[in-house]
Each structure stands twice: as structure tokens, then as C-alpha cells.
């Protein structure tokens, strides 16, 4: 069963094949968990979203048609759940403080890195850590951070990301480029020679 594609496994799920469902769960549970966590930075919410996305997918197994690939369908459901969670947080004003915190952190980091009295050693990229990058990703607009996560964490193509996010693939590509540029500039401004 390992060599079957996601779509073939999903077709089997529609006929009640439980091992096929287990195989899809083993392929995607941890990816979904990671996908949600990179957006929300909260393990509990991420676990809830991964679970809800999987349940929705298999509840709707009978209505699955090969209009899109399985994983774009799955990530679309997960992204919608993440957006719902963002909305809930905004409503509760919970995310405001954490967003401010991450934005303040980013501003502090920028100020620190751009400070003229810093030694050349301090400006080196070796101080850049993954956690700083993720903090900066958290400060990006939602579409940019989702595009970055789908592209570099989940390995989706631009066309697949476009299908998941409901935007043209050219727009998605520009989001990814803009986000990378923003992340790079936030971490190390450059001075050109010519």
C-alpha cells in the first residue's frame, strides 16, 4: 500500500478501506501538525487543527473528486481552519498581544542589527538563528507567511500553493519573493558597492 498515491488511497477510503485511511494519516498527520504550528505557534491549537482537518477530509471521503490533488485539498481545509483560528483570536484580542510582541521583537532585532555602533563581528549572519527567522515569519502578513510555510516547509509547488490559497500562481510567487526579501532585510541590511 506504500506505493499507492494519495489519490488512489483516497479512492479506497471512499469505499471504506480503513488501512488506506491509516496510511494517509501516517503520511500527513505530522505535516499538518507542523503546518498549523508554524502559523499559530501554539501546540495545542495546532493539534486541534490537524485533527479537525483529518476528520473533515475522511468524513467527506465519498464526495472527493479528482478536481485537485489530495494534498492541495487537505492543505486548503487546514488553512481555512487556521484562518478561522486567526479570526477567533482577533475577536478575543488574544493574538494582538502576541503579534505586538513579535513585531516589537522584530523591531528591536532590526534596531539592534542596524545600530551604527555595532562591531562588524556583531553584524555577521552567525547570530541569526532559526528562532529569529521564525519570529520574523510570524511578523509577516498572513498570506506571505502561509506562502513561505507551504513552499519551504511543506514542499508544495507554486501551482499547488495557488490552489490552496485561492490566488494566481504568479501572485503566490511574488508573495514568496517579497517575504524572503523582508526576512533577509530584517536580519541583515546590505550596503551595495555599485
Amino acid at each position: 500500500m506504500n506505493d499507492l498515491s494519495d489519490e488512489e488511497l483516497m479512492a479506497r477510503c471512499a469505499w471504506g478501506d480503513r488501512p488506506a485511511m491509516d496510511m494517509l494519516v501516517s503520511r500527513y498527520h505530522s505535516k499538518l501538525l507542523d503546518f498549523a504550528f508554524r502559523h499559530l505557534r501554539d501546540r495545542e491549537s495546532a493539534a486541534d487543527i490537524a485533527q479537525t482537518a483529518l476528520v473533515r477530509v475522511f468524513e467527506s471521503a465519498g464526495s472527493y473528486r479528482l478536481k485537485s490533488t489530495f494534498r492541495t485539498w487537505l492543505y486548503t481545509i487546514a488553512l481555512n481552519l487556521i484562518r478561522d483560528e486567526y479570526r477567533r483570536r482577533r475577536t478575543r484580542k488574544e493574538s494582538l498581544s502576541s503579534e505586538l510582541e513579535s513585531a516589537e521583537g522584530l523591531v528591536e532585532m532590526l534596531a539592534d542589527r542596524r545600530s551604527p555602533d555595532r562591531s562588524p563581528e556583531d553584524t555577521a549572519l552567525d547570530r541569526m538563528t532559526a528562532s529569529e527567522v521564525w519570529k520574523a515569519v510570524g511578523g509577516l502578513p498572513e498570506n506571505y507567511s502561509s506562502a513561505i510555510i507551504l513552499k519551504f516547509r511543506q514542499g508544495l509547488t507554486y501551482e499547488e500553493i495557488a490552489a490552496v490559497m485561492g490566488a494566481p500562481s504568479g501572485t503566490v510567487k511574488s508573495w514568496v519573493h517579497y517575504a524572503l526579501k523582508a526576512l533577509r532585510e530584517s536580519l541583515e541590511p546590505i550596503e551595495c558597492e555599485g
Partner: protein, 163 residues
């Protein structure tokens, strides 16, 4: 190539989105510009920071919760609920088609009774064989067409999820 132009294209270069010609131009510029080389390296560090972070693995309790939730989804699949709703719609469609057919027959008989049309003349003449054939046609129209319409709309792959 100027640094400004190079800077605009570095993100695309880091993503591998440029054409071979554009990539060559960038590489030629990078070989002679330390600042752009540093910027290009920074893109590499940003991307590897995003890519290399280990993927989260579900804990045992998270896996168990998902398994339990999926078992419930299998027992009560939404698809079977949709199928039930669909069969109600089909029943309604069957009823409407049958009513329409009977209304048509009643109209014809009514027009015949009041002398507006002469069905017997239309059929041809009083001939037992022709009447029998007409009866067959009426039975076919009133029974088989609604059944055929319903059968065409019935899904072939009804879900059979179960324990």
C-alpha cells in the same frame, strides 16, 4: 548588472525561479560584488532556517485522539448523511415526474370526454391490438420512465463505512 537590479532578483534566484540566462547574469555579478554575495548568502541562511527546522511529530496522546476521532468519522460519515438527503430528493423527483405523467393523461382523457379531441380517431380505429399497444405505451410512460430517471440519478458508489 547593477546591484539594485541584482538585489531585486536575488529572492527569485534563491528560490530557483529564474531562467538560466537570468541566473547566469546574477552569478556573474555575484562573482564581483561582495555585498550582493553577502545578501545572497543571507537568503540561503533564511531559507535553510525555515527548511531545516525539524518537523513536529505527534505525541502518542495526539495520535490516539486523532485515531478515536477518525473512528467516529468512519461510523458516522458525512457522505452517508448526504446520500440520505440525496435519496429524499430523488423520491421527490420521482413523485413529481409521476404526477406530471398522470396530469398529462388526465388532461387527454378530459379533452376526450368534452369532445375537444378524438383520441380514438388519433390512434386510428378501435382495434384490440392497437389498444393493447397503446396500453403498453401508457404503462411504459407512467412506470418505466420515472424509474429510469431515478436509476440514472442514483449514485453507484454509496459509502459502506462500518465498524
Amino acid at each position: 548588472m547593477e546591484c539594485k537590479k541584482c538585489e531585486e532578483m536575488l529572492a527569485g534566484y534563491a528560490c530557483g525561479d529564474l531562467t538560466a540566462q537570468e541566473a547566469e547574469a546574477i552569478e556573474a555579478h555575484l562573482s564581483g560584488c561582495a555585498a550582493c554575495r553577502a545578501a545572497s548568502a543571507a537568503y540561503g541562511v533564511v531559507i535553510s532556517s525555515v527548511v531545516d527546522e525539524p518537523v513536529l511529530s505527534p505525541s502518542e496522546s495526539e495520535s490516539a485522539t486523532v485515531s478515536a476521532a477518525l473512528a467516529h468519522a468512519y461510523v458516522y460519515p458525512r457522505a452517508s448523511r448526504q446520500a440520505r438527503t440525496r435519496s429524499l430528493k430523488e423520491l421527490l423527483g420521482f413523485g413529481l415526474v409521476t404526477v406530471a405523467v398522470f396530469a398529462f393523461i388526465a388532461t387527454v382523457l378530459g379533452l376526450q370526454a368534452f369532445g375537444h379531441i378524438d383520441v380514438i380517431w388519433m390512434i386510428g380505429s378501435i382495434n384490440p391490438l392497437r389498444i393493447a399497444l397503446s396500453a403498453v405505451v401508457v404503462v411504459f410512460v407512467t412506470s418505466f420512465i420515472p424509474i429510469w430517471v431515478t436509476a440514472r440519478r442514483r449514485p453507484l458508489n454509496g459509502l459502506t463505512f462500518g465498524r
